[in-house]
């Protein structure tokens, strides 16, 4: 779509993106020298999870309230594969993603039959059903969860035993996931998806099979959520019911909302914020749900665009591309 000779604002925008990317990479490279690597890895897992949700929530315009099923379900499958079947890190991640992809397809074909609220309630109900199914399946060990999951090598070559090498592995997987998301958003498919979000009837009358688009993005989002969940098992060697419960689906929506729905980096920043505050709250007696609830209320009442969305809104418009300008203008 972009020709060799870019217009000046577009060129400037390109440069800005490249600077941001390089700065981000440099930050990721040196961050473990200053911050606890395990926390950073947790952050990257949830950042990827929230970004995956954002594909459906921000770009597809569908409020999915059941993404915990993909995140936690993939975590269970990966944990089981690593522990009982002796899978390596790579194949362990893949089987988790495959599980999330299939589950996402099944949930998607049922849920996209309804729109709006009904979509939200349907995904929530289906994920609650999955929760009970996990609870009763023998391999998940119900309340105990799958514990003491081993941390195998990657492809039999790279040892992930110490936290630093695992950190860079997690960064690599995170970047691959984010690259997929970037590709999806900036493809003709992504553009069609935005069109469907803005006006489904019109897209339908233009001949788009809107349900096929919605199902596809839902499945991609589910698979990436699964990747995030499987990755988390490598970091924390357990898989439990917490990750498949509805509260998790709510938490990841909060991360996306706080950071900025429909912005590329917003969900990662939202995840960082939520996890940091959770970390502080863990040492107090106050239940974390109070904080999550308050954050939802404040965010919805005061800054609906999210942190990144509000920043975009105050940037000079020559810095922005078309869709961002539109975002900053209304909503």
């Amino acid at each position: 779509m972009v020709s060799a000779s870019l217009s000046l604002p577009l060129q400037r925008r390109r440069n800005l993106n490249i600077i941001l990317l390089l700065a981000g990479l440099a930050l990721l490279a040196v961050a473990p020298l200053f911050l606890y690597p395990v926390f950073l890895m947790k952050l990257l897992c949830f950042g990827l999870f929230a970004s995956a949700l954002n594909l459906v929530l921000g770009y597809g315009g569908m409020v999915a309230f059941g993404h915990a099923t993909f995140f936690g379900g993939a975590a269970y499958v990966t944990a089981h594969a690593l522990k009982e079947w002796g899978f390596g890190a790579g194949s362990g991640l893949l089987i988790g993603v495959a599980f999330a992809l299939v589950t996402g397809f099944l949930m998607g074909i049922i849920a996209i039959r309804r729109q709006g609220f009904y979509f939200a309630m349907t995904t929530l109900a289906l994920s609650q059903m999955a929760y009970f199914a996990f609870f009763q399946a023998p391999f998940t060990h119900a309340e105990d969860g799958i514990q003491r999951v081993p941390r195998p090598d990657f492809l039999g070559l790279v040892s992930l035993a110490d936290n630093m090498s695992l950190y860079y592995f997690v960064v690599a997987v995170f970047l691959i996931g984010m690259a997929v998301i970037w590709r999806v958003i900036h493809s003709p498919f992504g553009a069609s998806l935005t069109a469907i979000r803005e006006n489904e009837q019109r897209a339908l009358s233009l001949g788009y099979h809107t349900n096929r688009y919605k199902l596809t993005v839902f499945v991609i989002s589910a698979a990436l959520s699964g990747l995030a969940g499987s990755l988390k098992v490598l970091v924390f060697p357990i898989a439990t019911l917490t990750d498949v419960a509805w509260q998790m689906s709510g938490e990841v929506i909060l991360m996306t909302l706080l950071g900025g729905v429909g912005t590329f980096l917003g969900p990662v920043i939202g995840a960082a914020l939520v996890l940091t505050i959770q970390n502080y709250m863990a040492s107090t007696a106050v239940p974390v749900t109070i904080f999550i609830g308050l954050a939802f209320i404040i965010c919805v009442m005061l800054f609906r665009k999210g942190i990144v969305g509000e920043i975009i809104a105050v940037l000079p418009s020559s810095w922005l591309n078309g869709s961002e300008r539109q975002k900053a203008g209304h909503q």
């Binding site: 309804r114 059903m129 007696a285 209320i297």
Partner: protein, 295 residues
């Protein structure tokens, strides 16, 4: 002993009573959700929390102020209604006209906040609540023992559902409500105070949930998360019945409770899954729900 498909009649009958009992709660809660949704266009995630608050209000009124169960049955729903009215006036109101997603997320946040606060002050453990003496016995019906309290709970819940239906269908207030659902701006032109109507509707829906909470208190333990787990099943009920249909809410509520009970008798591990499986089947066959009209 009489057996039905390999299950003793006594066991089956008492499970069915439990099923109808649960179904009565589903009906009350989905009715309130439906009334709120019809007028405010908000899927009220706080509904489960209202139910919990109702139960806690009864528990606190009885154990600290010595109120009787009967007094609680009246006062607790009013407390919940007041809470709902305040929430609607201060928060929810500001989101009308915005993307409906925000109303959903706001009520979700409020629910988490309420549950978190209750958890902070009362812990996660359940608190017992006494069945009133007059309702504590059981009757021998020949083929089963019927606990009086459960019979009372089913009867009052259904009576309340019926009353709500009568109000909406046959009173002038109900006519205004229905008119507001169709076209609230036009109704405002006719001089009806629509914002007040919205507040009252939200408070009324909350009161129904609070009432259900009081009725539930003696049977289930009064705990901060009692509503959170219930509300998701109620969402399935609402999807099956179709939002906005009162008959749909009542019939599918009772039906789901009964089917859940049957599942408990014939294949226990499936009992938790049944409401959601039925929901999935209904979505495939009749995406608008069994009683739903067009969107």
């Amino acid at each position: 002993m009489t057996m039905i498909f390999g299950v003793p009649l006594v066991a089956l009958a008492s499970q069915l009573v439990i099923g109808l009992f649960n179904g009565a709660f589903y009906a009350l809660l989905s009715l309130g959700l439906g009334v709120i949704f019809g007028l405010l266009r908000v899927v009220n995630f706080t509904h489960g929390a209202f139910y919990t608050v109702g139960a806690f209000a009864a528990f606190l009124l009885t154990s600290y102020a010595g109120f009787s169960f009967w007094a609680c049955l009246l006062i607790a729903p009013l407390i919940v209604a007041a809470l709902a009215a305040v929430l609607e006036r201060t928060l929810l109101r500001k989101l009308y006209g915005l993307d409906a997603l925000y109303g959903l997320l706001l009520t979700f946040g409020i629910a988490l906040l309420i549950e978190g606060l209750l958890q902070f002050y009362f812990g996660v453990a359940g608190q017992p609540y006494q069945v009133p003496d007059i309702l504590s016995g059981t009757s021998n019906l020949g083929f089963m023992f019927l606990p009086h309290y459960r019979a009372f709970a089913i009867a009052t819940s259904l009576l309340l559902c019926l009353l709500t239906w009568l109000i909406i269908e046959y009173t002038s207030l109900g006519a205004k409500l229905r008119a507001a659902t169709e076209n609230s701006r036009l109704l405002e032109v006719f001089g009806v105070n629509v914002p007040l109507l919205l507040t009252c509707t939200y408070a009324f829906g909350g009161a129904l949930a609070g009432f259900a909470g009081v009725v539930a208190a003696p049977v289930f333990q009064v705990s901060p998360l009692m509503g959170a787990n219930l509300i998701i099943v109620v969402f399935a009920v609402v999807i099956i019945g179709g939002l906005g249909s009162i008959t749909g809410a009542i019939v599918s509520g009772l039906m789901l409770g009964t089917l859940e009970a049957l599942a408990k008798v014939y294949w226990p591990p499936s009992a938790n899954l049944v409401p959601f499986l039925i929901m999935a089947v209904v979505l495939f066959l009749r995406p608008r729900g069994l009683f739903g009209k067009g969107e």
